[in-house]
């Protein structure tokens, strides 16, 4: 330091540079070794608390996963309920939200049970829908629950049209078929002269006196083309996910009354 003080900007600096040049690799290596050694001992020291910390982290991760799943479910439920709200805006028909509480206990039929009954205003033959499509119709009503026949059932027919109502002439009726299972329904009586393609939407026509017109039924997934004298054979994938139903809406729809034809046949007595 005395030399350095005497000759601040001269040869002493050169000496320092040379010393540093030779010393720095050694210093660096020793620093690394001491760091690693210190780190190693530090790790050993910390290792005692690691197991406990690991357990805590695992618990927190499990909680976070549960919360994440709950949030995902809430989001999905929110989407479904939004769909039901949109449906109400589109159709202008009052509806009652309901939750699916059971499925048919026997494997032979496709029915579900919902938690709304006559006390909520549900009556027999009211249509049941989700935001994505028709589910079926109410077949039995009790005060606090109702049984719904899914549209995939053989006895659950509905008037339908391929394409937009009023623009397409591809009218027919849809119903389930035992050999097709729950995933697909059949559309019958569509004239072979009508243009039907895979991917076309199928809507209700309202002619069945149960479902209001303009509800989405599903999409065409298979067409066997017909001829002038033979109808198309059309298979439809329902829009509603019938295997995973959770929330549905019962439409408080009362179809317009149809006038009964007057019987004026010659041998019939007229009622006064």
């Amino acid at each position: 330091m005395a030399v350095d003080a005497r000759d601040a900007g001269g040869e002493q600096k050169v000496l320092r540079i040379w010393t540093q040049t030779f010393a720095s690799p050694l210093q660096s290596a020793s620093s690394k070794v001491s760091g690693a050694t210190g780190g190693f001992f530090q790790q050993i020291w910390n290792f005692r608390g690691t197991a406990q910390e690991n357990e805590q982290l695992k618990e927190r991760l499990a909680k976070a996963e549960l919360e994440l799943n709950a949030a995902r479910q809430a989001t999905a439920e929110n989407e479904r309920l939004k769909g039901l709200l949109n449906l109400h805006e589109q159709t202008n028909i009052q509806s009652i939200p309901a939750r699916v509480i059971a499925r048919d206990p026997s494997v032979w039929f496709n029915t579900i049970t919902i938690d709304r009954g006559s006390s909520a205003g549900v009556t027999v033959n009211m249509p049941v829908v989700t935001g994505t499509g028709v589910v079926g119709r109410v077949i039995t009503v009790s005060p606090w629950a109702s049984q719904v026949m899914l549209i995939t059932d053989e006895k659950a027919g509905a008037g339908a049209v391929v394409g937009q109502l009023g623009q397409s002439g591809a009218l027919g009726s849809v119903r389930g078929r035992a050999d097709l299972g729950v995933g697909v329904i059949e559309m019958r009586y569509v004239s072979g002269l009508e243009q039907v393609e895979v991917g076309d939407n199928v809507m209700t026509t309202g002619q069945d006196g149960i479902y209001p017109p303009g509800l989405n039924i599903g999409k065409v997934v298979d067409v066997k083309k017909g001829t002038a004298t033979q109808a198309h054979q059309i298979l439809i994938q329902p829009g509603a996910q019938l295997d995973h139903l959770e929330e549905v809406a019962v439409l408080l729809y009362h179809p317009p009354q149809r006038s009964t034809p007057q019987q004026n046949s010659p041998n019939t007595e007229r009622s006064r």
Binding site: R103, W108, Q147, D153
Partner: protein, 180 residues
């Protein structure tokens, strides 16, 4: 006490039948009430078997989309057939229960579907496929359930087995005497 046990077991089987499909669809192929009906019919108690069969069938029918009474009839008839067979042939052997359970599933399904077809309300699923799934599921799970029921209702079945063993021993011991 035994009636209470039977009522409790029947109630549990019906609750399982009504609720398990919502958990996982294939579980609906296991016919728990039928397993209970088969068990009671195998105990050679005709009235209990018939009453349990009728009740179980009617309750499941009331929650199903099918005709009310079809399941009750099919289970009652199945119970009677098994009871009748059990009085003629010794079906106490645990191994024999497996084919009995399988046959009961087939008979129950056929009668159920027959009534629905006869009354113009055919089921909405393919018969052979559904019956096969039901046969496999009910036979496999039912065999285990029968063992569990044996444990629950141990008193009566143990007594019956004891009597059967005594009879066998008695026959063996009296056999040579007769020859002499």
């Amino acid at each position: 006490m035994s009636q209470l046990k039977i009522a409790a077991v029947l109630l549990i089987s019906i609750v399982l039948q009504l609720s398990l499909r919502a958990v996982w669809k294939p579980l609906a192929y296991i016919d728990f009430p039928l397993v209970v009906v088969v068990y009671i019919a195998l105990q050679r108690d005709a009235w209990q078997a018939l009453v349990v069969g009728t009740l179980a069938g009617l309750i499941v029918d009331s929650q199903s989309g099918g005709l009310i009474g079809a399941g009750g009839f099919s289970k009652t008839l199945t119970a009677y057939i098994i009871f009748f067979a059990a009085t003629k042939v010794n079906l106490e052997n645990p191994l024999l229960r497996i084919p009995v359970l399988g046959a009961a599933t087939v008979v129950d399904s056929l009668i159920y579907v027959f009534w629905h077809r006869l009354l113009g309300s055919p089921p909405g699923v393919p018969l052979v496929q559904t019956m096969s799934y039901k046969l496999i599921a009910t036979t496999v799970v039912g065999t285990v359930v029968l063992y569990m029921l044996d444990a629950v209702m141990s008193n009566e079945s143990a007594q019956r087995r004891q009597f059967a063993t005594r009879r066998r021993v008695a026959r063996r011991s009296t056999g040579p005497l007769r020859r002499r």
